[in-house]
C-alpha cells in the first residue's frame, strides 16, 4: 500500500480532481486505441513491443481506478491488503495456467494433438456402414449408435465388398480415427490447412507417379508419405506427415480410406 494514512480522516479527491482523473483515464484509452488502430500507422513502427506497452497502460488505468475511484489510497490498509491478495492470487492463477500450457512443449496444440482422442461426429441419420452380417436385427426401431469411438476394431472383415459402404467407412476414418482431416482439405468433408488439398485426389493420383496406378499411389502415400513427393504439390509444412501418423490404422481401414480417396474425383 502506498498511502500510510492510519488515521480515519478521509482525503477524498475534490470534484476537480475527479474530473482530472477521468480525463487521464480517457487519454490513456485514446492512446491505447491509436496504438493498435491500423489506420493510425503507429502499429507498424512499434511491432511486438506494443503489447507490453498496452499492458502497462491498462495497468496504470487499473491502478488509478482502484486508488482513487475505489479510495484504496485513502482507505484502511487492511481493505487494500485483502483486495490485493485476491488480485495477486488471481494473477498468479493466470501466470500458472499459461506457464503450465506454454512451457510444456512450447506449443500447446502439438502437445494436445499428440494425446488427443479423435472426435467423431455423431450422425443419427447416417446409414450404418458396419457389415450387415454382424447385425441381423437392423429392422429394430431402436437407433443403436455404432458410431462410438471405434479406435480399435470397427467390425470390418472386408467381406461386404460393397464399394459405397467402403467409401462411407473411409470418409469416417478420414475425419475420425485417421486424423487426416486435421491437416487435409476435401471440399465438403474437411478443411485442414497444413497438408495438400485432396479434393480431386482420385483423379490426380493416376498421373502422379510413373508406373503406379491411382490405387497403388494413394496406398503408398498413406503408408509411407515421403516415399514419393510429386512436384507442384503445395505443402505448408513439409516433413510433418510421417508413417507414424497412419501406423494405427488396420489394413482394412487403409483399404477403406484408399477407396474413399479414389472416389474424390
Amino acid at each position: 500500500m502506498a498511502g500510510s494514512h492510519q488515521d480515519q480522516e478521509s482525503h477524498h479527491p475534490t470534484f476537480r480532481q475527479y474530473v482530472l482523473i477521468a480525463v487521464i483515464l480517457f487519454a490513456i484509452t485514446i492512446v491505447e486505441f491509436l496504438l493498435i488502430y491500423p489506420e493510425a500507422q503507429i502499429v507498424n513502427h512499434l511491432g511486438a513491443s506494443k503489447i507490453p506497452l498496452l499492458v502497462a497502460l491498462s495497468a496504470v488505468k487499473f491502478a488509478i481506478v482502484i486508488m482513487f475511484y475505489m479510495h484504496l489510497k485513502f482507505d484502511n490498509r487492511l481493505l487494500g491488503g485483502i483486495f490485493l491478495s485476491g488480485l495477486g492470487l488471481g494473477f498468479a492463477v493466470v501466470v500458472a495456467v499459461l506457464v503450465l500450457f506454454f512451457a510444456l512443449q512450447g506449443n500447446p496444440r502439438s502437445y494436445a494433438e499428440a494425446r488427443a482422442v479423435p472426435y467423431e461426429e455423431h450422425h443419427e441419420e447416417e446409414p450404418e456402414v458396419v457389415v450387415p452380417a454382424s447385425t441381423p436385427d437392423t429392422s429394430s426401431p431402436s437407433v443403436e449408435t455404432t458410431t462410438e469411438p471405434s479406435g480399435t476394431a470397427p467390425a470390418t472383415s472386408g467381406s461386404g465388398g460393397d464399394t459405397d459402404a467402403l467409401i462411407a467407412q473411409g470418409q469416417e476414418i478420414f475425419v475420425g480415427v485417421g486424423g487426416c482431416a486435421a491437416c487435409h482439405t476435401i471440399d465438403g468433408v474437411a478443411a485442414g490447412l497444413v497438408g495438400p488439398d485432396q479434393t480431386h485426389i482420385g483423379t490426380e493420383a493416376a498421373t502422379r507417379k510413373p508406373g503406379l496406378s491411382a490405387r497403388e499411389y494413394i496406398t503408398e502415400s498413406i503408408l509411407d508419405p515421403e516415399a514419393f513427393v510429386p512436384t507442384g504439390v503445395e505443402r505448408a509444412l513439409p516433413g510433418v506427415m510421417t508413417p507414424a501418423l497412419t501406423a494405427n490404422l488396420s489394413d482394412d481401414e487403409i483399404n477403406a480410406l484408399v477407396e474413399f480417396l479414389l472416389a474424390q474425383k
Partner: protein, 210 residues
C-alpha cells in the same frame, strides 16, 4: 463527510475497526479477481487455437468497443459523483448521478448485446470454436456483472426518491460504487487483452511440430 466507522456507533464496533459490510465487499471483490483470472487464463490459453473460423480478426470491432469502454469509464465517474452527492446530502445530485450511472451502464450492455448479436449472425456462437467458447464465457460473465450492478443501482435510485440516501447511509452507495468500479477495472483488463491485443488474431498458425 460520513465515515465508514463512527467512533460513537456501538453497532459498528468491530475488532478490525472496519465496517463488516465494507470488509465483506472487499473480500468478495478480491475473490472475484480469482473468478475472472481463471476465465482470462482460459481465454489466453485457447487464444489462436481455434481450428475453424470466425477468428477474432474477422469479427471483433475495436472502434465500437472503444466507444463502449469510454461509456463504462464515464459511468465510473458518475458513480463517484453519486457518492460525493450522498456524502454532501445533495438529494438532487444523488438522483441525477445515480441515473447517469444506470443509463451509461445500460448503454454498455446495449453495445454488448449488439456485439453478441452481430457475432451470432456472423456465425460465431458459444459452440463454434475455442474462440467463441472462451470469448462468450468471459465477456458474458462480465456483462452479467454489469447487469447485476445496474439492478443494484436501480434499487438505490428507487430508494433515493424516498429520501433515504444521505450521509448516514452513504455506505449503501459506497458499496455499490466499489462493485461498479470493480466491474469497470475488469473491463479495462478484458478490453486490453481481448480487443487491443488479441482482437486482430487471424487463423491458427501452422503447427510447427510433428
Amino acid at each position: 463527510m460520513a465515515h465508514a466507522v463512527e467512533p460513537g456507533h456501538a453497532a459498528e464496533a468491530t475488532t478490525t475497526g472496519l465496517n463488516h459490510r465494507k470488509l465483506l465487499m472487499w473480500v468478495f471483490l478480491g475473490s472475484d479477481c480469482l473468478f475472472f483470472g481463471a476465465l482470462i487464463a482460459t481465454y489466453m490459453v485457447y487464444r489462436g487455437q481455434s481450428l475453424n473460423g470466425p477468428y477474432p480478426n474477422d469479427i471483433i470491432d475495436v472502434p465500437i468497443t472503444t466507444i463502449s469502454t469510454f461509456v463504462l469509464l464515464c459511468s465510473s465517474f458518475a458513480m463517484v459523483q453519486a457518492l460525493a452527492a450522498t456524502n454532501a446530502n445533495n438529494q438532487r445530485g444523488i438522483k441525477i448521478w445515480l441515473l447517469a450511472t444506470i443509463i451509461m451502464g445500460s448503454i454498455f450492455i446495449a453495445f454488448q448485446i449488439y456485439e453478441f448479436n452481430t457475432f451470432k449472425n456472423e456465425g460465431l456462437t458459444l459452440g463454434t470454436n475455442l474462440f467463441g467458447a472462451s470469448f462468450f464465457t468471459l465477456t458474458g460473465f462480465h456483462g452479467a456483472h454489469v447487469t447485476l450492478g445496474i439492478i443494484w443501482l436501480l434499487g438505490l435510485y428507487i430508494i433515493s426518491f424516498k429520501g433515504r440516501l444521505g450521509p448516514a447511509t452513504a455506505l449503501d452507495v459506497e458499496l455499490a460504487g466499489l462493485y461498479w468500479h470493480f466491474v469497470d477495472i475488469v473491463w479495462i483488463v478484458i478490453f486490453t487483452l481481448l480487443y487491443l491485443i488479441a482482437g486482430f488474431d487471424v487463423g491458427p498458425a501452422p503447427n510447427p511440430g510433428g
